[in-house]
Amino acid sequence: MFTYYLELAIRSLRRNKVLTTLMVLALGLGIGACITTLTVLKLLSGDPLPQKSAQLFYPQVDPFPMDGYVAGETKPQPTMTYTDAMNLLHARKATHQAVMTTTGAKIAPQQANAHPFYSDGVMTTSDFFGMFDVPFQYGGGWTESDDESRARVVVIADFLNDKLFGGANSVGKTLRINDHDFRIVGVLKHWAPQPRFYSLDLGGRDYGDGDAVFLPLQSARAADMAAGNTNCFDEIKDLKHLETAPCIWLGMWVQLDNSAAVADYKAFLANYARQQIALGRFHRPDTGLPDLMRWLRDEQVVPDDVRLQAGLAFGFLLICVINTVGLLLAKCLRRSQEIGVRRALGATQRTIFAQFMVEAGIVGLAGGLLGLVFAELGLLGIRHQPAEYASLAHLDVSMFALTFVVAIVASLVAGLLPAWRACVLAPAPQLKAS
């Protein structure tokens, strides 16, 4: 039966080529726009560490004074002071914990007449690599005792290793960073989570290439490396002695394996804030412990423009669908007599309905194919945009499948009304008219 409907549908679509082309073109444009923007949206709002994100949490406390505080509305600060970060780190209440901030690392190549250059760096503590499952090509991370002893060690990214050492095992070699010698202990495999979740609010970009160097926080600070975003809540003399200054500049991540551990950590944080209020260091009692995906939402990491584009594309698709409904309706009303004859010969309302839905589905399928072409063109355009994420915009298998799902759903929704109108037509007047 289905093949018969298919044959009928194709015959009917062929009969009016202009109308069919219009429908397919409009639907294709709408679907192409939607898939393009959805691909970008998915890329930007994706999970940077799918296997681990549910266990990663971002503790927040608030050392700011009471000015401007509204109970229940003011959110705790996005970063921490050095004192709080070290207190929470050394409490070791989680499976893994690391504090971090970003820095600009001035790297001086060993080769003669090569100029020094700046690369993105992360200043962090030893648990960083274990907690985020960072893959190593050579060597590994540093140890806690390296943190404590302020050892001049560094982990470098694959692209920096390729650039400086031609991709060879550089573990044990020396790298000159900010006019100090650091010993390379590890070389990463390609690692660039999108978005760069661990350093949102710490400075640097949110998407794109990974960081080039990873240094122990205290060692790097001892080598005068500047911290990324710094926000001070009291008067300061200079930004050199950040460790003792009333400034927030560090982010902390913890790994908590089950809900009991999460509840315990929440209680620990609340207790810590109370303790600090009692000591006179804190004034605001609020704490926060969002998980990774929640933190990305809180930080609104997806740019407004991208969300606006997606909204626009869906508005456009809606107009295209309404357009298709109108055209399908016109087509089916024109075939009133044919429907009348079929009904008189014994076709039930259901079969008429099915026949028209199949026709709509074919339009959808064709629109989907055309939409795929438009989406590829759209993504080609996106890749030429000056955005951080531009080079990552590619159609993957799931978006490929989604294109057809959107196309079929859109066309079936569009086909509902015309098909219903067709199947409720009373056959007798139609036959009489001819």
Partner: protein, 404 residues
């Protein structure tokens, strides 16, 4: 032209009419809002920076030892001035469309109780005022004696030059000359008013604050080093920048040239607004596609109606209607449907605008966008229906005698 028969005919095609009106309503709503977004983006890109962009370039150095910054300034200033095509070299902390350097909240009282907003401080050595090409609208030019040594990012007690927009924000309807404001323990007194001076990284509080800048003359030194403002012959600027990089590699080998910020101001401006121009382009593309689809929908439905009513058209023609009567019929019909759609579309446009205002810090949609949107949809509708209407007019009167 009688409208009554058109209504009677439309009533027979209630569903199709409704769908077409709905499509036009949606198109009208999206069109008004997208146009509004485009215009505001484009206006944003035309902001007047207040400086001679075409004749200016910046060179920014990082990675040098801060202890040697006085020495660095001396070496760079004298070396860069020797490059052919360079008219002057000055030390400044930031340039328009570059990275911001002196951003701070200010208050109009010493105690810091009356917070007046976040502004950007341009701190430059005495020659930078003239080099930037700033236009003075009140007060006097900065004198060499106004430039003070720096302990921090701004002098403790300084005479400053504010933009007209900032002066109007701080002291509406009063003479700003001689007025005072504070940042923390720093005290400023207004010595003059500038026509324009755009903030380095734009206004964070929206487009209205883009001009909230303060120019502070100061002496170059440890706190003011590393960023240099070059006044160059516009035609030679690419070569001058190349020469400057080469010169710095020899006179300051440990310093790293910040490529992103070491550009002509024209390039910095172009990069700064690239995303806005791109977004405007995308919106324009969507509008075109939208109008195209709407027009296609009208053509499709009108063609269908013409074909369906061939006999009726024939009867009308046989009874004496002229060709232009038939064309007018379809055009009026289209006008009525589009009118219905536009009424609904205006309401929808405002609803979408409210939604955008909630999520994207957008101002209210100005009312004059509505008639513009309406007119363009009427135009599209009339153009789209013209083809089918002419085909209808070509139906011969003899059609009345044929059975369908």
């Amino acid at each position: 032209m009688q409208i009554q028969p058109i209504f009677a005919a439309l009533r027979k095609h209630r569903l199709a009419t409704l769908l077409l009106a709905l499509e036009i309503a949606l198109a009208c709503a999206v069109l008004c809002n997208a146009c509004f977004l485009i215009i505001s983006r484009v206006q944003h890109t035309h902001v007047d920076s207040g400086v001679d962009e075409s004749a200016l370039a910046a060179v920014k150095l990082t990675g040098y030892d801060p202890a040697s910054s006085v020495d660095l300034n001396a070496r760079v200033l004298s070396r860069l001035a020797k490059i052919p095509g360079v008219q002057s070299v000055n030390v400044i902390n930031a340039v328009p469309f570059g990275d911001h350097a002196g951003t701070a909240g200010i208050s109009t009282d010493a105690a810091g109780k009356h917070f007046a907003g976040v502004v950007d401080f341009y701190v430059g050595n005495p020659g930078s005022f003239k080099a930037l090409g700033l236009q003075l609208v009140a007060g006097s030019m900065p004198q060499a004696s106004d430039a003070q040594p720096l302990d921090s990012f701004v002098p403790k007690n300084a005479t400053v030059w504010v933009t007209r927009a900032l002066a109007e924000h701080l002291w509406p309807d009063t003479d700003p000359l001689g007025r005072e404001f504070w940042t923390d323990q720093f005290h400023f007194r207004v010595g003059g008013v500038l026509a324009h001076l755009a903030r380095p990284w734009g206004g964070e509080g929206g487009p209205s604050t883009i001009d909230w800048s303060v120019y502070v003359p100061a002496q170059a030194g440890r706190q003011l080093a590393g960023t240099y403002l070059l006044r160059v012959n516009p035609a030679e600027s690419p070569r001058v920048l190349r020469d400057a990089r080469a010169a710095i590699a020899t006179i300051a080998p440990d310093a790293v040239v910040d490529s992103k910020n070491s550009q002509t101001l024209g390039t910095l401006r172009e990069k700064y607004f690239r995303q806005d121009r791109l977004m405007a382009g995308i919106l324009l593309g969507v509008i075109c596609a939208l109008l195209l689809v709407t027009a296609l929908g009208i053509v499709g439905l009108a063609s269908f109606w013409v074909q369906q009513r061939r006999r009726q058209i024939g009867v009308r023609r046989a009874l004496g209607a002229t060709r232009s009567d038939i064309v007018a019929y379809f055009q009026t019909e289209n006008f009525l449907i589009v009118s219905g759609g536009i009424v609904l579309g205006m309401l929808l446009a405002f609803a979408i605008n409210l939604l955008l205002m909630q999520h994207y810090e957008l101002p209210r949609l100005p009312l004059y966008y509505l008639p513009i949107g309406a007119l363009s949809l009427y135009a599209i509708g009339q153009l789209a229906v013209l083809g089918p209407a002419l085909r209808a007019a070509a139906v011969p009167p003899v059609e009345a005698t044929r059975s369908v």
